[in-house]
Amino acid sequence: MEIERAETEELRIGVFVCYCGLNISGTVDCEAVAEYARGLKDVVVVNTNRYTCSEPGQQTIKDHIKEHNLNRVVVASCTPLMHEPTFRAACQEVGLNPYLLEMVNLREHCSWVHMHEPEKATEKAKDMVKMGVSRARYLQPQIEKEVSVDKSALVIGGGIAGIQASLDLANAGYQVYLVEKKPSIGGTMAQIDKTFPTMDCSI
C-alpha cells in the first residue's frame, strides 16, 4: 500500500523503556529492547528507567526532550489507560505537544501475560516498540479547543423532574426555559392523590 512518507521536519524520537521494578524487567530483557530501539530509524536517544512514572523518571524524559531537542516521545511501560495523562503532562511542561507522545504497553500486554516465555516476550516487546516508534513518526500535534458554554438551560417537560431541575438551575443563577406541551405544568404527579411512602399530598 502506498502511503505518503514525506516529512517536512527532521524526526527526533526519544524512546524510554521502563523496568517497572521487576514487573516488566522480570520477564522482558529491557536492555535488549533498548538496544534494539537504538537501531530504529529516527531514534536519537534511548533510555531505561526503573520507574519511568516516578518524579525522577519523568524528569529524565523532560531533560532528554530539552537536551536532544526531541519532537516525538515513546514511553514503553504500562497501559496508556493508566499513565498516558502523566507522560502527556510531562511533555507539555517542556513545550512538547502532548499528542506527540506514544505509549507502548509492555506490562499489561506483554510481561504480565508471557511470564513463562521470557525470550519470546522480549522479541514481542521489540516488535511492540518498533510499532510504537513507527506510529510516533506519524503523530501530529493536536489542539484541545475550547468552546464557551451559554449560561442558560432548556428543560423539556414540566413534570416533577422538570420542575425540580428547573428550580435547581434557576436558583443556581441560570436562565431556564421550561417547555411543556400541556397547558399546565405538573405532569403525571399532579394527577396522583397521595404519594408513597410518606402518604403526603402530591401537589
Binding site: 423539556i156 417537560g157 405538573g186
Partner: protein, 592 residues
C-alpha cells in the same frame, strides 16, 4: 409548582413543543412552537366568568374523562400558569351568531380568538430531558375486561377517583352504580414483566402505588375488603417495607397469583376473578365489586421526536439510554444533554427528584465553568476529496456530520459534537476523512511494523480503547497467560477499523486478523460498533470471493472486565494461526 410560575429566571412556555435543535454543547439553538392559548396568560385571573357562560361540554383529560370541562377551562385548580385555556377545536368560535359568549363575559378582555401560534427562538448551553412517561393502556389484555366491564378501572383512574380535587371529590365509587364498592381487587403487573404482551420490564412504581392505594381506602373506609393479586411485591426502597406491613396489618389481603380471567355478573355488575393461589396451590374464585388494574409505565409517545432532535438513543425497553449505565447515569450520549425522571426509566417521585437534582448539578458543572475543552481526537473532512456521498453522515452515531443531500456540498464535521469514534473515516471510500491521532498512516505503519519480520508467526489484533484493549489490560493484571504471537493495535472504537487495514495485514502475510470491540450494549460511541460488524461481514464475503478462508478474519466483543475471555480468545487465535499454511499465506498475498 407555583415557585416555577413566579421564579424570575424561569421562562415557562406551556402549550409548547421543541421543534428544532441546532448547535452543540454549550451552544444549542432552540426553536419552540408555542401554540396559542387564546387567553392572555398574564391578564387572566382565573375568575371563571367565562366558564359559566361556555355552552360546550367535553371530557376532562386531566380526570381521564371521568369528569367534564368546558371549551374554555383550567386543566385543574392548582394549574401553573393558572390562566384558563381555550381549546379552539371544541369552541364554537367568535361568531356572534354561533357564540362568542366567553369574550363578552370577560371583564379584563383577555380572550382573543385571533391569537396565533408563535415560534420562539433562544440559545442555551445545556438541555435537560424530562419528558416523563405514559401509563400502559390495558386494552390489549382483553382477559381483564378493561374495555368490556365498566367496573374495571386503571390505577391512574383510581387516583382521580380518590382525589379530593377529582370528579367525585374523593368519594370512592364504582362506575356502574356510584356506590362505595365493598370488595375491591387490585391486579398487579398489568403491562409489565411479560415477554408476550405489554412490556418485559418491571415498571418500578406499581407495587408501592397499590400498597399506598390500599391504605388510602382502608384509612377512609376500613370495612372495604381489599385483595391484591401479585407476582412479587417489590418493596425495596426506604420506608417501603414499613408501608407494606402497615397495609397488611390493616387487613389488605395479598394473594400470590395473577387472575387468568375476569367475568362480569351481568346484573350486579360484580366481577368474578379466577385465580390460582400459588402459596396455597389451588384455584379460587373471588367475587368483587370493582377491579383496579395496576398499570405499568411506558415510554412517552413523544420520545421518538425528542430522540431525533437531540440525537439520543433508547435502550431495548424504549426509554432513553444513558451515556453510561453506572458511571454517567444522568448524562445523555449527546454532550450537554442530561436526563431527569421517567424519560430515562420508570421511577417514583423521590427518584425522579433525586435524578432531576443530579441532572441540574451536571448541567451546572458545565455552565459554571463557562467553557469546555472539546475532544482533540475528532475527524476532519477534506473538502477537495469529498464526493458528497453522505455515507459518513449516515454512520455517525452523533449526527456530528452536516451534509445536505440536495445541495451535494462536501460534508462538514461539527467538531464539538464529534466524539472521535472514527466510523466515518473507516466508511469513507474516497479517503477524504482524516481521523485525528488515529490516521490511516499511523495505523498502517503499526501494521507494517508488526508484520515486518516473520509475519506468519503473528496475529494482528485490533482492539478498541474502552473495552477490548482494557480487557487485555485486565488479563495482564490478572496474570492470565496467553501465547506471545498477538500484536495489538489500539483504536478508539472498533468502528475505526477500515477494510483496508484488514486487507493490508493479509497482504503483508498475516495469517489471522482479529477485530475486537465492546459488546453492543457497552459501545462507547452509541452504536459505532454495529458498523464494525457490518464491515467484517462484508469482508468475509470479499475474502471468500478471492478464495481466502473467511475464518482467517475473526470478530470478538470483549468487555473491560472480561480479562478471562481476552486470554481465552488469544489462545484460540494462536490455534487458528497454527492452522494457516505458508501456501495459504502466499496465495492470499498474491490474490489481494
Amino acid at each position: 409548582m407555583t415557585d416555577v410560575g413566579r421564579h424570575p429566571r424561569i421562562e415557562l412556555l406551556t402549550l409548547s413543543e421543541v421543534v428544532d435543535v441546532q448547535g452543540y454543547i454549550g451552544n444549542f439553538r432552540i426553536k419552540v412552537l408555542r401554540k396559542a392559548r387564546y387567553v392572555d396568560e398574564k391578564e387572566c385571573t382565573a375568575c371563571s366568568d367565562c366558564l359559566e357562560v361556555c355552552p360546550v361540554t367535553k371530557p376532562n383529560e386531566f380526570d381521564l374523562g371521568l369528569s367534564t370541562r368546558k371549551a374554555i377551562y383550567q386543566p385543574f385548580p392548582q394549574a401553573v400558569p393558572s390562566a384558563f385555556v381555550l381549546n379552539l377545536e371544541d369552541c364554537l368560535g367568535n361568531n356572534p351568531i354561533a357564540c362568542g359568549k366567553c369574550a363578552e363575559a370577560c371583564d379584563l378582555k383577555c380572550i382573543d380568538y385571533d391569537m396565533q401560534d408563535k415560534e420562539v427562538e433562544f440559545r442555551v448551553g445545556t438541555v435537560i430531558v424530562a419528558t416523563g412517561m405514559d401509563v400502559y393502556d390495558p386494552t390489549e389484555l382483553d382477559e381483564f375486561g378493561y374495555t368490556r366491564f365498566e367496573n374495571v378501572i386503571t390505577s391512574l383512574e383510581f387516583e382521580r377517583l380518590i382525589n379530593s380535587g377529582g370528579p367525585t371529590e374523593g368519594h370512592l365509587i364504582r362506575p356502574t352504580d356510584w356506590q362505595l364498592p365493598k370488595r375491591v381487587a387490585f391486579i398487579q403487573c398489568i403491562g409489565s414483566r411479560s415477554e408476550k404482551r405489554g412490556n418485559p420490564y418491571c415498571s418500578n412504581i406499581c407495587c408501592m402505588n397499590t400498597v399506598k392505594d390500599s391504605l388510602l381506602i382502608k384509612d377512609h373506609w376500613p370495612e372495604v375488603e381489599i385483595k391484591v393479586f401479585y407476582m412479587d411485591i417489590r418493596a425495596f426502597g426506604k420506608g417501603f417495607e414499613d408501608l407494606y406491613k402497615r397495609s397488611k396489618a390493616a387487613g389488605v389481603m395479598y394473594i400470590r397469583g395473577i387472575p387468568g380471567d375476569i367475568r362480569e355478573d351481568p346484573e350486579a355488575k360484580n366481577l368474578i376473578l379466577l385465580s390460582e393461589d400459588r402459596n396455597e396451590g389451588k384455584v379460587v374464585e373471588h367475587e368483587v365489586d370493582m377491579v383496579i388494574l395496576s398499570v405499568g409505565l411506558v415510554p412517552n409517545s413523544d420520545s421518538p421526536i425528542i430522540r431525533q432532535l437531540l440525537t439520543l438513543s433508547q435502550t431495548s425497553d424504549g426509554f432513553f439510554m444513558e451515556a453510561h449505565p453506572k458511571l454517567l447515569p444522568v448524562d445523555a450520549p449527546t454532550k450537554g444533554v442530561f436526563f431527569a425522571g421517567c424519560a430515562e426509566a420508570p421511577k417514583d417521585i423521590k427518584d425522579s427528584v433525586t435524578q432531576a437534582s443530579a441532572a441540574a448539578s451536571r448541567a451546572n458543572i458545565l455552565m459554571s465553568a463557562g467553557k469546555i475543552t472539546i475532544e482533540a481526537i475528532t475527524s476532519h473532512i477534506d473538502e477537495e476529496l469529498c464526493k458528497a456521498c453522505g455515507i459518513c453522515a449516515r454512520v455517525c452515531p452523533y449526527h456530528a456530520i452536516e451534509f445536505d443531500k440536495e445541495k451535494k456540498l462536501p460534508a462538514r464535521v461539527i467538531e464539538a459534537s464529534c466524539h472521535g469514534c472514527g466510523a466515518c473515516a473507516a466508511e469513507c471510500t474516497f479517503g477524504a476523512i482524516t481521523m485525528r491521532h488515529f490516521t490511516d498512516q499511523q495505523i498502517i505503519s503499526q501494521i507494517e511494523s508488526a508484520l515486518g519480520e516473520n509475519p506468519q508467526d503473528k496475529v494482528v489484533v485490533f482492539a478498541c480503547n474502552w473495552c477490548s484493549y482494557a480487557g487485555g489490560d485486565f488479563a495482564g493484571i490478572s496474570r492470565l497467560q496467553y501465547p506471545p504471537s498477538v500484536r495489538i493495535i489500539r483504536t478508539m472504537c472498533s468502528g475505526r477499523v477500515d477494510e483496508k487495514f484488514v486487507l493490508h495485514a493479509f497482504k503483508l502475510g498475516a495469517p489471522i486478523v482479529l477485530v475486537s470491540g465492546c459488546h453492543f450494549a457497552d459501545c462507547h460511541y452509541i452504536s459505532a460498533n454495529r458498523w464494525t460488524q457490518k464491515r467484517v461481514e462484508k469482508l468475509w464475503d470479499k475474502l471468500e470471493k478471492k478464495g481466502v478462508r473467511p475464518e482467517r478474519l475473526q470478530l470478538e466483543w470483549i468487555s473491560a472486565a472480561e480479562g478471562l475471555k481476552f486470554a481465552k480468545v488469544m489462545k484460540e487465535m494462536e490455534e487458528l494461526r497454527k492452522g494457516v499454511t505458508m501456501e495459504e499465506i502466499e496465495y492470499t498475498q498474491k490474490e489481494l
